[in-house]
Every structure is written in structure tokens, then in C-alpha cells.
């Protein structure tokens, strides 16, 4: 007789909490990397990287964005509004679809809380939970939670030039200079005159290409260049990828400090 008279489901079936929702919240932030772009002359790779960082962390902003996940059951679009201050405070409220409307997220540094109207609860999200698999999307928490400046964790080197979206781009190869990064190597295609990243490839330590980000559209908003559409793909997997669209950004917005508190999640 075999060892399981009773069929116990495999351990792996257990515990796949939904963390896909975190992505939208964080992805929007990452997309904004390299937002502001006054025209400049040629820089060293390191200087260029610093410029990208400088532009990525502007003051306050309020942003409406959407994410479309191409899942097995069809496409799903989630729309949200985010209030962001610097690189470590963010508050997001979901607007669509109806099921997710009213869900709020608060990120303070490395900590994350979520509020759901359905349960009327503030729930702390532990790092362990966020490391679980991500439902259907091409992203993981690590893809988006990174909020350190690239110039502090990567060493940049020139890796050629290429035209992307009809813009001449410099390719930088970023190699991690600290151990705790999600991707050991990134190649970024930078529109040098606007300091905008138009394409990115993320590699593992072994040099294996893992994920790609392709910007599909760049628009000027309030006088700044913004990547408004991007496609994110897990290249190891078949599928349509995950699409981001930034619908509007309000730069230099006035955000009351009280918003970045757990109490505001319930309001």
C-alpha cells in the first residue's frame, strides 16, 4: 500500500497569496525613472546614470496609471491613482475594476500595508509574503520594490548605441556593485538628450536574459518627457507580457503629509 491513504495535496499548492496587486503600485514608480529631461551634452556613463537618477526622484507627484495583465483567462486592466513623495513614500488607491476599487496601499520605506474595503482591515504585508509567486503577471515584487538610486548600486559602462522609437540612444551596461540587487546586470537604452530609458533588459548573474521592458510611447506632460506606455515581459515564459500606461501625471503637486500614514488607509 502506498504511503498516502489519504491524498494530501502537495505542499506547493499551499500558500500562493495574491501579490499581483502590489505591482501596479510599484511599477508606476519605476516607470517614472528618468522623467525629466533638459537637453544636455555627452556625459560619462556614470554621470549619465546619475542624471537618470536625479530625474527619477523628483519632488511630489500625483499620477493616474493603468496596468494590463495578459492572463490565461483574458486581459485584465487595473487603474489606480498614486501620490508619491520622493523615493520612499507612496500611497495608492485603486480606481478600477469595480472589484478592486477602494483598495489602498501604503509604502513607507521597506514597509507595506494594504487596506481593503471588503474586509475593512489594514493588513501588513511581510517581505516573505511578497516573495511568493505573482499571479499571472510578468513581474515580481523585486522587479518594482527597488527604490535605491541606480548610481548607488550599479556601475555603468558604455555598450554601444541604437535607435529606439526614432530616438538615438546610448546603451549602458549596468553591473551590480552591491550584492542585494534583484538583477545583477541591466542593459538600458537611454535617450541621452532627454535622460529617458526607452528600453531595458534585465539579466541574471549567469548572463541569462530574464526580463525586458520596452517603452512604447513617450509624451510631454507639463513640459516634461514621460514614458507613457511600456510593455514588461518575462522572457522565460510565453505570453503577452504586462502593459503599463500612465494616463496623467501632476508634478510638483501638493500632498498633505498626513496621507502617508496608516490612519489614512481607512479614510
Amino acid at each position: 500500500m502506498k504511503s498516502n491513504f489519504l491524498k494530501v495535496p502537495s505542499r506547493l499548492g499551499i500558500g500562493r497569496p495574491a501579490v499581483g496587486f502590489v505591482i501596479l503600485f510599484l511599477a508606476a514608480e519605476a516607470l517614472l525613472a528618468g522623467l525629466i529631461a533638459p537637453e544636455q551634452t555627452a556625459l560619462s556613463p556614470a554621470a549619465l546614470l546619475e542624471k537618470i537618477d536625479e530625474n527619477a526622484v523628483p519632488g511630489n507627484k500625483i499620477m493616474v496609471s493603468s496596468m494590463t495583465i495578459h492572463g490565461r483567462r483574458g486581459d485584465r486592466t487595473v487603474k489606480s491613482k498614486s501620490w508619491i513623495e520622493g523615493d520612499d513614500k507612496a500611497f495608492t488607491e485603486y480606481l478600477e475594476p469595480p472589484r478592486e476599487k477602494g483598495i489602498k496601499m501604503l509604502k513607507l520605506g521597506d514597509q507595506l500595508w494594504t487596506y481593503t474595503p471588503a474586509a475593512d482591515r489594514v493588513i501588513g504585508i511581510s517581505g516573505n509574503m511578497l516573495r511568493q509567486s505573482v499571479m499571472g503577471s510578468d513581474l515580481s515584487y523585486e522587479d518594482m520594490m527597488e527604490n535605491r538610486k541606480w548610481s548607488t548600486i550599479y556601475a555603468a559602462a558604455d555598450d554601444g548605441t541604437e535607435t529606439v522609437l526614432d530616438r538615438p540612444c546610448r546603451i549602458l551596461k549596468l553591473t551590480a556593485s552591491v550584492p542585494d540587487v534583484a538583477y545583477e546586470v541591466r542593459r538600458i537604452w537611454v535617450d541621452e538628450s532627454r535622460f529617458l530609458v526607452l528600453k531595458e533588459e534585465r539579466y541574471g548573474k549567469s548572463g541569462r536574459l530574464l526580463k525586458t521592458l520596452e517603452v512604447g510611447e513617450v509624451k510631454q506632460m507639463e513640459g516634461r518627457w514621460v514614458q507613457t506606455r511600456a510593455l514588461f515581459r518575462d522572457v522565460l515564459k510565453e505570453g503577452g507580457g504586462t502593459e503599463f500606461i500612465i494616463e496623467s501625471v501632476d508634478f510638483e503637486a501638493d500632498i498633505p503629509e498626513v496621507l502617508f500614514s496608516k490612519a489614512s488607509l481607512r479614510k
Binding site: R11, A176, D180
Partner: protein, 390 residues
């Protein structure tokens, strides 16, 4: 002493009939022992394969490790205590590193546990040896269940992605060097085995493990940050299952016994009836009835011993053969995609089982042999001598 001698002489002197009875009875013996041993074998097998392939003599679990809590896997791995490391170097412990990962068979995405183990280990009886050598790709080993759900065959290459201790992603191709069959789902479902050194290197967890399995007989020690789990924990589910099953099978045992006793009872009744003249003669010659009853009861008991001996003649080779080669189950499991359990079932004979069986049969035989002899107490020797059975 005269009674036992007489009983034995009567028994042997009865010739073919005795041997026939002994043969029938011996058949019950062998059937009881074999049937019981098959069930015990099945039970033992359940524990044995789990011990052989997973639990061994117990496991040390690192830190927060909980096999039922996937969120504990990232945090759990810890440096192997020096003692255990030394034991492992000498083949007396097997560190296993467990890292959550994702495999991408044919573009699909599947969560798995990457399990690193020393291919040269000898504590666990799984074909980890096949992870030795190989060039280029990382060698990987999966069970039939994982192979089926991921659609993997021997020689296939599959991309696997993981995060190292610092959280950095990486991916590589794993070559499935072998696929193993096991009854123990928990070393198969959703798992990919690879050399522990490779897994430690690619995850930056040099010298770390999640569990350390020690062979049977190893005395549990205390290591800070590691908790020893013995068989009470690792085999708990199996034990309570076996306990429940043993209950059910005791009825089988009782029924087989009843069958053997029926045979003896029958034989005894005939024997007494058939030898009524002899009984009459003995009583007429002055033998106390008690001794006559004793004689016949003893004859019945001796028959069971004789039966045990006869059973041993043909039963032992059979049982030994079974123990050695197992009882090969008929085919017909092809439809389960090689998920067949052990193809042969090995009966388990404990000395206790055999002795218990013999003792119980002997005791029961004696009682059953005695019952028909009570008639002797009321027998009129004169009638008996005439062949009448009043």
C-alpha cells in the same frame, strides 16, 4: 512421560491420515503467516520507504523551516553546524538546501522547490548518484509525478529561475539526467533535485542547508538554531494510518485462525470416533479417563506442531523466496504513467509473528482438541469396545 510418547507414536503410527491432516493444517499455518506478513510488509514498506527516502534517522530543521509554510523557505537556510558538516563529509549526514524557484517547461511557468543534495550521499535511498558528473548544464533529477506535470523526459533541458540569498534573480538551464519513481510524494511533487554544491553556489548560500538528515541510529544532538525532528514527527501520519489499518487486519487474522481450528476440530472428532474401540480398551485396562482425555488432547496439539514442521518444509523456502524477491505484483499499472508503486511487495516476517502464530495456534488447538474429548468422560468402556458410540 508415557502420555506424550504414546501420543506421538499414535500420531505417527496413524500414517497417511495424520500427514494429510498435518498438511491441511500446515496450509493454514503458512496462509496465516503469509497473509499476515503481506500486510505487515505493506505497513513496513510504508514506513520503510519514507525512512529510506526522506526521514532516515531524523532531520535537523534550520530556523523557521516548516515544510507546510512556503513563506519560511527563503528565510530558513542556515550555516550547517561544524559537527554535522564533519559528519556529512564522512557520509553520516545529508544536508539538503531548499530554495523556491520557478521552472519554465515549454514556456509554462511552474513553482518548484529546488533541492540541493550531495550526489555521493548514502543515507537516503534515492538515485542522487545520477547527479554526478555531467557537463555544461546543471544536472537535475525529478520524480515521475513532477516529470508528468511539467511534461519532462530524461535528457530534456528546462530553464529554472531562482533568487539568491541577497534576492538577486538568475536563471539557468537544467538537464534532467534521470527520473525516479517513488512512493513518497513529498520527495517528488513540485521538486527538482540538483547537487547541493551547485545550488549553494548559484544561490550564494555556501555552506548552508535547510535540513540535515542523519542516518538511523544517530543520537540526536542540540545545535543552536536547528531543531531535531524524530520519527514521531516525520512519520506521524503514517503511524496513525498503520495503527488504524492494523485494527482492520486483526479480523483477517482471527478469521484465518477460525479456519485452522475448524480443521482441527473436525479431525479430532473423527479421530475419537474412529478410535472408540481403542479408547474403550484403554479405559477397560484401567487407564484413568483423565489420562485418556490428556492423550487425545495432546495428540491434537501435537498435530499442530507437526503441521508447523510440515509447513516449514515447504513454507520456509516459499517465504524466504518471497522475502528475497518480493511478491511481484501483476502488471496493469501502465496506465498510471509509471507512477507504479514498488513492483514487488516484500512480506515482513518477524520472529515474533511466527512464534506468536505458532503459540496462538497451539493454544487454540489444544482447546479445540480438548472439546471433543470430553465425550470420553461419559463413555461406557463396554459400549466403546463394541464400537458403539452412545
Amino acid at each position: 512421560m508415557i502420555i506424550p510418547k504414546l501420543a506421538l507414536r499414535n500420531l505417527i503410527g496413524n500414517g497417511a491420515k495424520t500427514w494429510l491432516n498435518a498438511l491441511v493444517l500446515s496450509f493454514s499455518f503458512v496462509a496465516i503467516i503469509w497473509g499476515q506478513s503481506i500486510f505487515e510488509g505493506m505497513d513496513k514498506e510504508m514506513s520503510k520507504v519514507t525512512i529510506d527516502q526522506e526521514a532516515a534517522g531524523g532531520q535537523y530543521w534550520a530556523g523557521v523551516y516548516d515544510p507546510y509554510d512556503p513563506t519560511s523557505f527563503d528565510e530558513a537556510p542556515a550555516a550547517i553546524p561544524a559537527d554535522l558538516s564533519a559528519e556529512a563529509a564522512e557520509g553520516r549526514a545529508v544536508p539538503i538546501l531548499i530554495v523556491p524557484g520557478t521552472i519554465y517547461p515549454k514556456g509554462r511557468m511552474m513553482s518548484v522547490l529546488l533541492k540541493g543534495v550531495d550526489p555521493g550521499q548514502s543515507v537516503l535511498k534515492l538515485p542522487f548518484g545520477s547527479l554526478k558528473g555531467g557537463s555544461g548544464n546543471i544536472p537535475g533529477l525529478v520524480g515521475t509525478r513532477t516529470a508528468k506535470s511539467a511534461g519532462l523526459s530524461k535528457g530534456d533541458t528546462v530553464t529554472v529561475r531562482w533568487r539568491d540569498a541577497a534576492g538577486t534573480f538568475d536563471a539557468a538551464d537544467i538537464e534532467i539526467v534521470d527520473i525516479f519513481q517513488t512512493q513518497v510524494q513529498t520527495v517528488d511533487v513540485g521538486q527538482v533535485w540538483m547537487p547541493i554544491q551547485t545550488l549553494q553556489e548559484i544561490t550564494g548560500r555556501s555552506g548552508q542547508a535547510t535540513i540535515v538528515t542523519v542516518p538511523e541510529g544517530a543520537a540526536p544532538k542540540t545545535y543552536a538554531g536547528w531543531a531535531f525532528q524524530d520519527h514521531d514527527v516525520l512519520l506521524k501520519d503514517i503511524k496513525s494510518f498503520i495503527q488504524a489499518k492494523a485494527m482492520g487486519f486483526s479480523i483477517f487474522y482471527v478469521t484465518l485462525m477460525a479456519m485452522a481450528l475448524l480443521a482441527i476440530f473436525n479431525t479430532q472428532i473423527l479421530s475419537i470416533w474412529h478410535r472408540r474401540r481403542e479408547i474403550g480398551t484403554m479405559i477397560a485396562l484401567g487407564m484413568p479417563r483423565g489420562r485418556v482425555i490428556g492423550l487425545f488432547t495432546l495428540e491434537g496439539s501435537l498435530l499442530s506442531i507437526l503441521a508447523a514442521a510440515v509447513g516449514a518444509v515447504y513454507g520456509l523456502p516459499l517465504l524466504i523466496y518471497m522475502a528475497k524477491h518480493g511478491w511481484v505484483l501483476p502488471a496493469g499499472q501502465a496506465d498510471s504513467f509509471g507512477l507504479a508503486l514498488n513492483k514487488a511487495l516484500y512480506p515482513a516476517y518477524s520472529l515474533g509473528l511466527v512464534i506468536m502464530t505458532i503459540l496462538i495456534v497451539l493454544a487454540a488447538t489444544t482447546v479445540v482438541s480438548f472439546l471433543p474429548t470430553r465425550k470420553i468422560a461419559t463413555l461406557k468402556p463396554t459400549d466403546a469396545l463394541k464400537g458403539k458410540w452412545s
